[in-house]
């Protein structure tokens, strides 16, 4: 594979020339020429364009031929994420009809998603039926932790994937069959970038920022913090050992999302969790009243 452009094929030689253009000669004699990162402004006032290829540069060594190409332009106007969004809408309707509060838990790896869920399963288990869809690239380790804490769980392994998609949730729901009126946590893959783009049909995204990560995370990963309804500032028990400016962290997250709720918690000591659970009960109540409205 070409290290510059990812072009595959059995290139026997790569010739690189100036201006970012390079040429591959494949085993069958086909030449392939590419330009990279090429911007120009000759599109009648359009913004800069990027081009992958200039394909009039294919040459065939054994049988030289030129065929004038007749093409037709077809307007598609298609949303690239339309399929994911449609499945997410189906998941959302499925949750609403069953009065299930589905929450998409997102953070960077190691912020404490699984520890928080374990604690919540033990604290709320008897009062609010709770199940979990666990997303990780590999292993069932987190799923086993949740099961050991006492909740029903389905583990999703994404392999090389860095985020969960709506279709995976649809399949997991078939396995998990969360009960009516329950709380469903979807623990996304630890990643502050990719999961922000993929709607799963959740009622809200809950983002965790742990105090060991630094105050500037919300500014560095604004998409995720903008998409979340609540930020949990986790591991507050470690604050005495860190130089972490809480006020700045809150100001930073409000800069990208003025309406986000912030609760300081420690999954270790339980600090702040009562407030967090109150909010979850409020949300569960609005899901139930929403379902009631739909029936009228």
């Amino acid at each position: 594979m070409c290290g510059t452009c990812g072009c595959q094929g059995k290139a026997t030689a790569t010739i690189v020339d100036l201006d970012g253009e390079h040429e591959h000669i494949h085993a069958d004699g086909t030449r392939h020429r590419h330009w990279h990162g090429h911007h120009h402004d000759d599109h009648g006032g359009h913004l800069p364009h990027h081009h992958a290829h200039e394909h009039h540069d294919h040459e065939h060594r054994d049988h030289e031929h030129h065929h004038p190409r007749h093409t037709i332009e077809v307007s598609l106007e298609a949303q690239i994420l339309a399929k994911n969004d449609a499945i997410a809408a189906r998941n959302r309707a499925w949750f609403a009809g069953r009065e299930i509060l589905a929450l998409n838990l997102v953070s960077s790896p190691g912020a404490g998603k699984t520890t928080l869920l374990e604690r919540m399963v033990r604290d709320l288990g008897g009062k609010l039926p709770l199940s979990v869809i666990e997303g990780d690239q590999a292993t069932t380790l987190d799923g086993e932790r949740i099961r050991a804490a006492g909740a029903r769980v389905v583990q999703l392994n994404t392999g090389t994937g860095c985020h969960l998609e709506a279709e995976m949730i649809g399949r997991a729901l078939g396995e998990l069959r969360p009960e009516i009126g329950s709380l469903l946590w979807i623990e996304n893959v630890g990643n502050l970038v990719c999961p922000a783009l993929f709607d799963l049909g959740e009622w809200a995204k809950v983002a965790i920022l742990s105090v060991t990560e630094g105050e500037d995370k919300p500014l560095k990963y604004p998409h995720m913090f903008r998409a979340a309804k609540l930020m949990l500032l986790n591991k507050t028990d470690l604050l005495p050992y860190l130089r972490f400016d809480e006020a700045r962290a809150v100001a930073n997250v409000r800069a990208v999302n003025p309406d986000i709720a912030v609760i300081r918690v420690s999954a270790e000591t339980g600090e702040g969790l009562a407030l967090f659970y109150d909010l979850i009960y409020d949300w569960a109540a609005s899901v139930r009243s929403g379902a009631a409205r739909q029936l009228v």
Binding site: H53, V74, A78, L81
Partner: protein
């Protein structure tokens, strides 16, 4: 690298729309605040397009500048990044463009 997943979506949508015809060119619109990097989509495109009607197609990406309307003063301004504020100082902004993730047009080879 959600761009790989995004690119698979692009190729699947266009491959279906082409109904067996060869695709010569695909024109996308990607908003600057969509969270998708055009260069990463270009990087993935050649690989994902292999074995489909898009093999060898040219991919053009038009980047869309972000603009927002201020919920406080009602003014419109460009938004260089999320977290930027309106010239009036307010951060309560509604994005009006810049989150596009769209396939605009495709160019198909006409049947001979």
């Amino acid at each position: 690298m959600h761009e790989l997943s995004i690119t698979r979506n692009i190729v699947a949508i266009v491959d279906e729309a082409a109904r067996g015809r060869r695709v010569c060119r695909v024109m996308l619109q990607i908003g600057k605040l969509s969270g998708v990097m055009p260069d990463a989509v270009l990087f993935c495109f050649d690989i994902v397009a292999q074995g489909t009607a898009l093999h060898g197609a040219r991919l053009d990406i038009e980047e869309i500048e972000a603009r927002a309307r201020c919920d406080t003063c009602g003014g419109e301004s460009s938004l260089p990044h999320l977290g930027a504020s309106c010239p009036c100082g307010s951060r309560r902004l509604t994005l009006i463009q810049g989150e596009e993730l769209k396939i605009r047009t495709i160019e198909l080879e006409e049947a001979a």
